[in-house]
Each structure stands twice: as C-alpha cells, then as structure tokens.
Amino acid sequence: MKLSALELDALIEVANIGMNRAATQLSALLNDAIAVTVPKVHIIPLNDVASALGYAKDEAAVCVWQGLGGQIAGTAMLMFPSQESRSLVNALVGSVPSLAGIDMRTFEHEAMTEIGNIIISSAVAVISDLLRGAIMLSTPNYVEDNLQNLINERVGNEERHDMNVIVMFATLRAAQRDVHGTLILLLGVDSVSKLIARINAVLLGKLDD
C-alpha cells in the first residue's frame, strides 16, 4: 500500500504523539528521563517485515504483543532484539550477577511486559482517538522467538496475503543508553484502509463522520 507524503507525515505524527505519551508515563514510573523517539514509519506487506526490520532469519527477538479488536482488528507487537531487551532490563531494574553461569535477569519478563504494555497502549490510544471509536486491546503477552514464528503465531495462513503491517521504528533512550525497538501493527487491509481514510478526513478538515 502506497501512502502519500502527507498521509505518511500524519501517521508519523500519530506515532510521535503516542510515543511522547508513553515516554511521560515511563519517565514517571522509572523515575528517570525516558525519551521515545520515532524516526521512521512504513506500511509494508507482511512478507517484507523481516527484511524491513533487519532481523536475521533465526535471530531471537523479545516481543510484547496485544490483540486489537473493535474499530480495527489485528495485533500490536513491540519487538526488541534479545540483547537490547536484556540491557534495558538491567539498566532499569539493576543488573545482578550470574548464578552458575545463568543470567538471572533472563527470567525477568514482567518489567519488559509492563514497558511494552505502556508503549502499545499509548500508541493505540492515539489511533483510537483518531478513529473516534474504541479499539479493544487484549492483555499483554510476552514471547521470545524469531520474528517469523512470532508473526505466524498471530496471523493465520489464509489471512496472510491480506495483511499489511504498519512499522514504527522507535528508539527508547533510558539510563544513558539507546535501546532500539520496533512497534509493528499487523492489520488486515480493511483496517489499514479505514485508518488511512480517517487520516485523510482529518487532513481535509472533514472532522465530522
């Protein structure tokens, strides 16, 4: 799906507002200045996700996902490379020594789930305001796997050719370090069309439905 420059700008604006809201919440929660920046937003077909994200085929990723329902249907996923997620958790919760070679923070999923939950719900809230209708979110889930398996689990075979992916590259700057995460929204063509139509309506000043 091709977007006009104006539509893309509007989508970046939506992502930026969402990330700023998330940053405000994360800063208060972590008692530290947290910045979440959005450098790039793309809409791409599902098959191009892996190459767009630059993940190697079997590269492990940490993912927090929440299902979307209501006005738009699909899945919101926040992904971090495993190592980046671990250093983020260490920076935020404090690192601990390994016990017999086992990194104890490997078992720390809760903090990551909460951070993902805040970022996803902040971004989705802006989209749902834009659509002027509720988007239902499922509870957040934490998974570690390669990108392909993570997506396969959320998208059935028959839906696959009908899916578009909104990719928002975000950088989380916390405790003097940058952690690069990606928020992806796996949406059906209908949902994306609805979102773009709404963005166009707002751009044209047609604020009434």
Binding site: V93, E108, N117
Partner: protein
Amino acid sequence: MIDPVSTGSVSDRIWDQVPIGIVVLDAECRVQHWNGWLAQKTAIGEKDAQGKTLSELFPNFRSPRLQWAVEQAITHLSPQVLSQALNQFVIPIHTRFSGRHGTSMMQQHVHVAPLTGRDGRIQAVVSIMDVTESITRSSALIEVAQKLQHDSNRDALTGLYNRRFMWEWLVQQLKLCNRHAHPLGCLLLDIDHFKMINDTYGHDEGDQVLRSFAQVAQDRLRDSDILVRYGGEEFAALLPHCSPQDAIDAAQAILQTVRKAAFGALPAGKVTCSIGVSWWTVGHPVTGEELLKCADKRLYEAKQGGRDRVVPGALSTV
C-alpha cells in the same frame, strides 16, 4: 464475609473465595467493590471501603501509575499490567513475616482491566496477586549469587582480588587499551624478607602484616586501579589510564609509605618491599602474560639490587 456454601450467587461466592485481591474502581478511583481477600489482608471491610478513594483508605497512598492505568482501562478499554519489578506494590499491605526482600510490604503483581457494567458504565477491575514469596525467593538467590561472585573473585585473607579475577579483568582491560589507545601500568610488589617475619613473629603476625600491607598499598592507589593478591607475599597492582612515569611514581609512593608504616607489632622501618614496574602503551603493546612477566623480571632485579626499591622497565629491554 459471605458464607461459601449457602448464600449468594456462584459468582458472588467466587468473588470472596479467590486467593487474589479484586477491587473495582470508577473513573475517580473510588471503590465500587472490594472482595473478601482484600478485606482480610487490609482489615478494611467492603462496607468501609465502598465509595472511598484509595488515598482515603490508605493515608500517604499515591500511585500515579495506577491512576493512569485506571484511566487507560476506562477511557481506552486498554488493559494494563503493573509489574512488581517496576512498582513493587500498588495497595500498601504489611506482611506479617520478616522482609528478606528489604521491605515489609506485600509485593504485588497487578492487572487493571475495563469492566462494562449492566448500565453500560465502564469501570476498572484491579486484580492484585501476592508475589511476596517468589520475590523473597529470587532475592535470596540473587544474594547467594552476589556472595558467590564476591568470594570467587577475592582472596580470603586480605579481601583483595585474586589472580582468577585479575586475568579476566586484564583481558578486557587490554582490549580497551587497544581501542582507546590509553596506557596501563603494572606493579608487582613483594614484601622483603617475609619468611623471616613469619619465622620470627609467628604466622598470625605474618598474616597481619599481609593484611596491613594490602591496606597500605590500596590507600596509595586510585579507586579505578585494582590490587591483587598474586601469591604468598606477592601483590600485583594494575593501573588503567596510567603513563609509565605515573606508574613509577605510584610504585615509589607505596615504597615510601611502607617504609614509614608500623605493621602490627613491627615498628616503622621493619617492613619494606620491592617493586617491579612494567606497562602497556601504544608503542609497547604486550599481552597480559608479557606484562606480568616483565614486571616479575623487574621485581627480580629489585631483589637482586638489594631490595626496598623500585625497578621499572618496558618489555623491549627485558
């Protein structure tokens, strides 16, 4: 408390029987429902809780995170997770056993979800799980890991780092030296005539001299330097970001201080040391083994030269 068998609907009975706290809040964070678990843990009955805000129920209670989560649940139908790792707890409840995790408050994993009532009004259902026990267990494990790590890196007598740690540290440090082109100094120190001290004053006094020597040398080094018990009465000091001249000066400073210090029953002047100094510089990039071997050679020369002295020299002249 509702009778678990005879009264109320099944859902009412479940409400009061589940081993988690459930509180339903409205948009202003006022309690609409308060289950039996919460009543029991907080000693605040449902009737007393009803209609009150959490700050009214718990003076000093303040959780902007919970407020935001409730707002997200109610205005955006967005469920929220509040982890113990980042929040510790949401409802202040004292535990009745000693807090090994450093707090006497119940540690909680909290979940906030939207709940649409029959009238269509949306409220937030907050469920609270007590995770104190697993947090206590994992903090005990972390304590063990910290102690093991500390012990495996330290010499039991002096508390200084041991050789095992030194080699791990040195490998990393030399990589940094290479990358940033900063010099590193290496001192190998040996207490003169230590066998005689041991034989004359006994092993307890000998141990005391080792401990005091470690302290004296440590006091002359920077926080970023590491001091290692290298062998019996032999010590190594590694000084990052330190030029050859600064390494020699540091060695001289230790030598002078040792001369003037009293060591337990031994008066000042009784204990002296010899020090070999080597270095890594961009001009003399050496391996860790070469660095220590060179300092050892210089130390040998200091001993041969009459002890109580510093002998410096880089690898190329070994």
